[in-house]
Amino acid sequence: MDERLRIVIAKPGLDGHDRGAKFVARALRDAGHEVIYTGLRRTPEEIVRTVIDEDADFLGLSSLSGAHNFLIPKIIDLLISSGCGDVIVFAGGIIPEIDRPRLFSKGVRAIFGPGTSSTNMNDFILLTVERRESNSPVGCGEETDWRWN
């Protein structure tokens, strides 16, 4: 893989903590990716616009506030209706086990809890890129049950 990946890390919702999001952003940069960090409290519309303008391959959504149940599906719907169903979406932060199946079925391909190692995230990214290159569905709007965890 010699292509440089572009990854948007965004924080929807109202909580004011972004230590986790920044950690993820730095880890991905250190793995050789170009990471665009949006800062706190972005609306779904702003996040989708950022993904479009930045021509991102991946969108990582960090949520600590419980807003994920509403916001993440909304963002994915917006991505798909904007023609960005090929973008690969993952999530992080505090997302309880019972909320996860719905997010996965909505098109989230991995959920990383607090304390996830950067190796784990990178393996996910490399594997999804392999899938994309072999034309297997992996984008948030593509039909598949595949997920990382």
Binding site: R26, D30, R49, D55
Partner: protein, 293 residues
């Protein structure tokens, strides 16, 4: 590239086309082919040491342009990490309220290491935005080192930002930038010593023999001093004076990109490395090629 969608203002097509330019798959000659008449946008660069407030100032400039109903493109350039090749592009963090306007397109770019490559791509990107009727282009770049001076040289106007708490960049580079700047801004006027910094700069400029840029004291945080800055920007756009050192840099930059975009360059470098030819012969060979073109 979907030229119809692009011409109809589809953002994703524009974004994908920028990626093609960034990879070197599309050049300004190709763009000119699709767009016979191109109005040149006004290109501004905002530069200065890390953390002086370039992005916060940009936000106010963008807002001002949006209020005038201008179509705006921002290119925020940050260095790639020399170790991993990755980059953390965080200038968007400061751009809050203007993010939703259809008249604003905001793209973050990493320098991707190869010296010379990014600035030549940037001028192709400027061409594309101009072709799509963008009227204002703002390039944010960190003002330290040669590459960044070159990024600034693809723009028509340069704003150099200083702050009372900013670590000084190397004297020589700073002198170079000060010579290039059309406007010097001292940001963070809400902090102590901002005034002092502005006075120091004015004094230094008085000593230079060139016609010197005006110095503005502002606070991006408190939104103070912007009225005068905006007036000066308008004034400059109306009658820009050519600046000799800037023309010099633009010329040498254009020269350099001609050289590095020359298709036989790898072969010439190989021959030089194995001492099959001398530098002089290499230059002759390249010149020969340019003549035929």
């Amino acid at each position: 590239m979907d030229i119809i969608k692009l011409k109809n203002g589809d953002r994703r097509s524009l974004s994908k086309t920028l990626t093609m330019i960034e990879k070197g798959d599309l050049k300004s000659a190709d763009i000119k082919e699709f767009f016979p008449a191109i109005n040149e946008a006004e290109v501004w660069a905002i530069t200065g040491s890390p953390g002086v407030g370039k992005s916060c100032i940009s936000e106010h400039i963008i807002d001002n342009w949006l209020q005038e109903n201008k179509k705006i493109a921002v290119l925020a350039v940050d260095p790639s990490s020399p170790l991993s090749g990755g980059a953390l592009l965080g200038d968007r963090i400061r751009i809050s309220n203007s993010d939703n306007s259809d008249n604003l397109f905001y793209r973050s770019l990493a320098t991707r290491g190869q010296s010379g490559a990014i600035p030549s791509n940037i001028s192709d990107m400027i061409k594309l935005f101009s072709a799509l009727d963008y009227e204002k282009i703002l390039i944010e770049t960190v003002g330290a080192g040669q590459a960044e001076v070159r990024v600034a040289s693809v723009s028509k106007f340069i704003i150099l930002v200083e702050a009372p708490d900013s670590g000084d960049i190397l004297q020589a580079e700073k002198a170079g930038l000060m010579e290039l700047a059309d406007i010097i801004v001292v940001n963070k006027s809400d902090l102590e010593r901002a005034n002092e910094k502005a006075e120091q700069l004015k004094l230094a400029l008085q000593l230079s023999e060139n016609e010197s840029p005006n110095v503005f004291l502002i606070s991006a945080k408190e939104k103070l001093g912007f009225k005068d800055l905006f007036l000066e920007m308008k004034e400059l756009e109306k009658n820009k004076k050519e600046n000799k050192s800037k023309s010099k840099i633009s010329l040498s930059f254009a020269w350099e990109s001609l050289l590095w975009n020359y298709k036989g360059i790898d072969l010439i470098l190989q021959k030089l490395e194995s001492e099959k030819i001398t530098i002089k012969e290499a230059i002759n060979e390249i010149m020969e090629e340019f003549k035929i073109d």
